[in-house]
């Protein structure tokens, strides 16, 4: 789609606290012609100053929520009254904390069935947000390889 519409920028909702590889991202992340992420050559972003280079064939991934945490998202949902799918709320002691393809995503143990209860749970939980995402746990660098190849 990026190629078809010649998009120069794509906004994505990834956050640093989700996963170690995403923690290495930039707010404005340049992607080369084949959408590859060049981890070794990322622009510095001191004092919230962002580089927006533009060359033929490249695009920039913009990650405005990079510094938010999972609990920030839920507090925002609560404050704005944002509706969401009920998979995030506990049913029979389980809920989804993160949603991916149905065959590689499993629910985590939880009794949080309202936004307020989810926030309360997140204030103390030690379980990783992506514990139920099988693709992260295949091998040490599984997620890194996906992201370098262009996975959002």
């Amino acid at each position: 789609m990026i190629e078809k519409h010649k998009l120069q920028g794509v906004i994505a909702g990834i956050r640093r606290d989700e996963q170690g590889t995403r923690a290495k991202e930039r707010v404005f992340s340049p992607r080369g012609a084949s959408h590859k992420w060049d981890i070794r050559n990322q622009p510095p972003e001191f004092w919230d100053q962002y580089a927006t280079p533009h060359e033929e064939g490249m695009h920039i991934r913009v990650h405005p929520l990079l510094s938010w945490r999972e609990i920030d998202i839920w507090r925002y949902i609560e404050r704005e009254g944002i509706p969401l799918v009920d998979l995030y709320f506990a049913k029979d002691g389980k809920r989804y904390r993160s949603l991916g393809d149905s065959d590689i995503t499993s629910p985590v143990e939880s009794n949080a069935s309202t936004v307020a209860e989810v926030i309360e749970e997140l204030e103390t939980t030690k379980t990783s947000e992506r514990a139920g995402r099988a693709m992260d746990h295949e091998s040490e660098d599984a997620f890194e390889r996906l992201r370098v190849a262009g996975y959002l």
Partner: protein, 96 residues
């Protein structure tokens, strides 16, 4: 706001000021009392190792995280490399 060259912009230029102010107020409650710490040191002299160990000793790691880095350390012939808590990329770990 300092004047910037056109290709450099602060994120506040992109976010409506009202929203940004409210978000900061409502989403950083637990950070209000945080003390910023800066770790400075020569390359390969233990900055990440120190921070990793601090995260562990202050009980700020998620379940299974230590087991994960022990496994990654063993793979590289090391007992436990605390810096792997921060150095999540292969290029960072392989130089340990």
């Amino acid at each position: 706001m300092p004047s910037n060259a056109c290709e450099w912009r602060a994120i506040s230029d992109y976010v409506p000021t009202g929203i940004e102010a409210n978000m900061t107020k409502n989403t950083t409650t637990s950070l209000d009392a945080a003390t910023p710490i800066v770790i400075v040191g020569h390359v390969d002299h233990g900055k990440s190792t120190l921070i990793g160990r601090l995260l562990h000793d202050t009980d700020n790691l998620q379940d299974g995280k230590v087991a994960q880095i022990i496994e990654s350390s063993k793979k590289r012939g090391l007992k436990i490399e605390w810096s792997f808590l921060l150095d999540s990329l292969q290029i960072e770990r392989d130089q340990a």
